[in-house]
């Protein structure tokens, strides 16, 4: 998954970024709201936002995001543990609320949970015809046969599966899979899509000419 982490504390931000990357996610870490800007399109799978940032309130930023109609799942990371703060945070548009300190493993589980909720799935398994994806185990199966996917291929299929039924632009897909700052060869995405079709079936990923790619629900 591609995640945006908004955390001003150097030690925590760096630790979470490294942990999440080690877990196979693309992470863009920003220490202030100005650097984060305003995400658009299908830029991120989830946003991890600290409430209290040097140049403003992370909660106000989330509110502005929701006002713009952005439905990207948001996890609020904060030291505020009072009940009224938690209620305020969730009512302001956050999908989940995690009080510091927390175990990074719990954060990852919660990211998976908010993504599941976003696609309307109760479990970690997403099924598209013969293809079943285990989001937790990062395993793809065609029928009963496990498909051997590379990390990039898994990131690509996960990005499309979490947006199943919607067309994801090539640009968004590149950002979701490779990260915003990665130098990507012009045909890298097509190469991964082609490889996935070989492993999961030619009909699994649709190409919508001029717009992007889609997994049909």
């Amino acid at each position: 998954m591609r995640l945006m982490l908004l955390e001003d504390d150097l030690i925590l931000g760096e630790g979470l970024r490294d942990f999440l990357r080690n877990d196979g996610h693309q992470v863009d870490w920003h220490q202030c709201l100005q650097a984060a800007g305003a995400p658009s399109g299908e830029a991120y799978d989830a946003l991890l936002v600290d409430w209290q940032l040097p140049d403003g309130s992370g909660l106000d930023w989330v509110r502005a995001l929701r006002r713009r109609g952005d439905t990207t799942p948001v996890l609020l990371l904060t030291a505020r543990d009072l009940l009224k703060d938690r209620i305020h945070g969730l009512d302001s548009g956050a999908d989940d609320y995690l009080v510091k300190p927390f175990d990074p493993e719990e954060l990852v589980a919660r990211i998976r949970a908010v993504r599941r909720r976003a696609v309307g799935s109760a479990g970690n398994a997403l099924v598209f015809g013969d293809v079943a994806l285990d989001l937790h185990g990062k395993v793809a199966r065609v029928g009963k046969v496990q498909a051997e996917l590379t990390a990039r291929e898994w990131a690509l299929v996960e990005a499309l599966a979490l947006r199943a039924g919607r067309i994801v632009s090539k640009r968004d897909l590149e950002a979701l899979v490779m990260g915003a700052d990665a130098e990507v060869a012009s045909n890298a995405l097509e190469v991964h899509v082609s490889s996935l079709r070989r492993k999961l079936g030619r009909e699994f990923i649709d190409t919508v000419r001029g717009l992007g790619y889609r997994i049909a629900t």
Binding site: L12, G13, D81
Partner: protein
């Protein structure tokens, strides 16, 4: 916060004043009656003596006017209609013979020796004598003494009854007035009970009696100081929470990364460091919770089985029994239990049971572990320290926090005497 209940209720101002008014009115009526009795005794005597003298003089005038025609031969009395004679009279000769008398007057002279003016004959008669003519005859007019006693008694009784009635009426009026005057005090008490200094919208209305104004001003001043203190504490608590929790979260995250990237032989050391960080996290949570323990207790219904499952102690088997749910402040109770379970873990426990016993006045949450336990002398010392809230000495953070949380719920923490392991009872009173 629960109101303080006094073992012996304070005396009622209304009852005390009413009692005093009743006693004063009775005493006043008795005093007035006594004074009237003493003063009336002389006044009635004087009045009746004057009346006796005047009657004698009038009678003298009437009798002496026709003295020549009076039958002064000692044969009887002048004719008179039947009546209760209050005044009697005699005309006595110089040789002490009764010459003429009223029909109720005795046949013997009132006085053995002729005497002019007022005199008493035993306890029976009050006599006024005056010379009747120049032949040594005397006119005596007399009144029965009991008549005077009766008059005095009637006067005293009437006065006493009137005084008592006035006293009782005054007592009732004053009691009613006292009740009325106590109403502003009762209204102030009710307003103080509703007054919440921490709520900016809550105010204490002005009082309707000058004497209550200083009390009201003092309460408002106290409330303002309290609200300022709590606001400062909350602000400090929020800053402290951020300052403590964020580096701790960073430490945990960095350790988690290091754990993933480190070789297997380093893993146990990193895991122990993470366990220590977890413990530090619980301590920080406990300290922050304890800091806020003076604030309001927010009670809610807590599922005990769910709570047992949420407590983050993978090395402990935590079970729940008894009542399925209890009413308490979830955050305070969780912080207290986390510290008690941390104690259990450090004392070698592997199993902890949470048992909720509900009765009419509240809930007893009994926490039992299979750890090394506490020896009798140490337990008694700890219990004594908890009872006196002398937390600075022997009780650790866990027991102190659990006791504070229990007290915030109107109860206390009790270390139960058990043969093995450790059993603690957190008493939580109903709201």
């Amino acid at each position: 916060m629960n109101p303080v209940r006094l073992t012996n209720p304070a005396p009622s101002i209304r009852k005390r004043l009413s009692g005093t008014l009743f006693v004063v009115s009775i005493a006043w009526a008795l005093a007035v009656s006594l004074v009237v009795w003493v003063s009336v005794r002389h006044e009635v005597d004087d009045l009746m003596d004057d009346t006796l003298q005047e009657s004698a003089e009038i009678l003298y005038g009437l009798l002496s006017f026709n003295a020549s025609q009076l039958p002064l031969d000692g044969t009887g009395s002048l004719p008179a209609p039947a009546h209760a004679e209050r005044l009697v009279w005699q005309i006595v000769s110089a040789d002490q013979r009764v010459l003429l008398r009223s029909h109720r007057a005795p046949a013997q002279p009132f006085l053995a020796q002729p005497a002019t003016g007022l005199s008493s004959v035993g306890d029976e008669w009050r006599v006024y004598g005056l010379p009747f003519d120049d032949r040594g005859r005397y006119l005596y007019v007399a009144q029965i003494s009991s008549e005077r006693v009766e008059a005095r008694l009637e006067t005293a009784e009437t006065t006493a009854a009137a005084a008592l009635a006035v006293g009782l009426v005054c007592a009732l009026l004053l009691r009613s007035r006292v009740s009325g005057e106590l109403k502003p005090l009762e209204a102030l008490s009710a307003a103080v009970a509703r007054y919440d200094p921490l709520d900016a919208a809550s105010t204490l209305a002005p009082v309707s009696r000058a004497e209550l104004a200083p009390m009201r001003d003092a309460i408002v001043h106290l409330g303002t100081r309290l609200a300022r203190m709590v606001a400062n504490e909350r602000a400090f608590s929020a800053h402290a929470a951020h300052a403590l929790r964020t580096p701790l979260a960073g430490m945990v995250a960095q350790l988690a990364v290091a754990q993933r990237k480190s070789p297997p032989e380093v893993q146990p050391h990193l895991q122990r460091t993470r366990d220590a960080a977890d413990r530090l996290q619980r301590v920080v949570t406990a300290l922050l919770t304890m800091f806020r323990a003076g604030a309001d207790v927010t009670r809610s219904r807590i599922d005990l089985h769910e709570l047992a499952g949420l407590l983050p102690f993978p090395a402990l088997t935590i079970t729940a029994s008894g009542a399925p749910s209890i009413e308490a402040d979830a955050e305070l109770l969780t912080a207290a239990l986390m510290n008690l379970l941390d104690n259990s873990l450090r004392h070698g426990a592997t199993q902890v049971e949470l048992c909720a016993l509900v009765d009419a006045s509240g809930t007893s949450l009994v926490v039992t572990d299979n750890g090394s336990g506490i020896d009798v002398a140490h337990r008694q010392g700890l219990q004594d320290a908890l009872d006196r809230q002398a937390y600075d000495g022997r009780s650790g953070l866990g027991l102190m926090l659990a006791d504070l949380v229990a007290r915030a719920h109107g109860g206390r923490l009790v270390l139960m005497p058990v043969a093995s392991g450790c059993t603690l009872e957190m008493r939580l009173e109903s709201s």
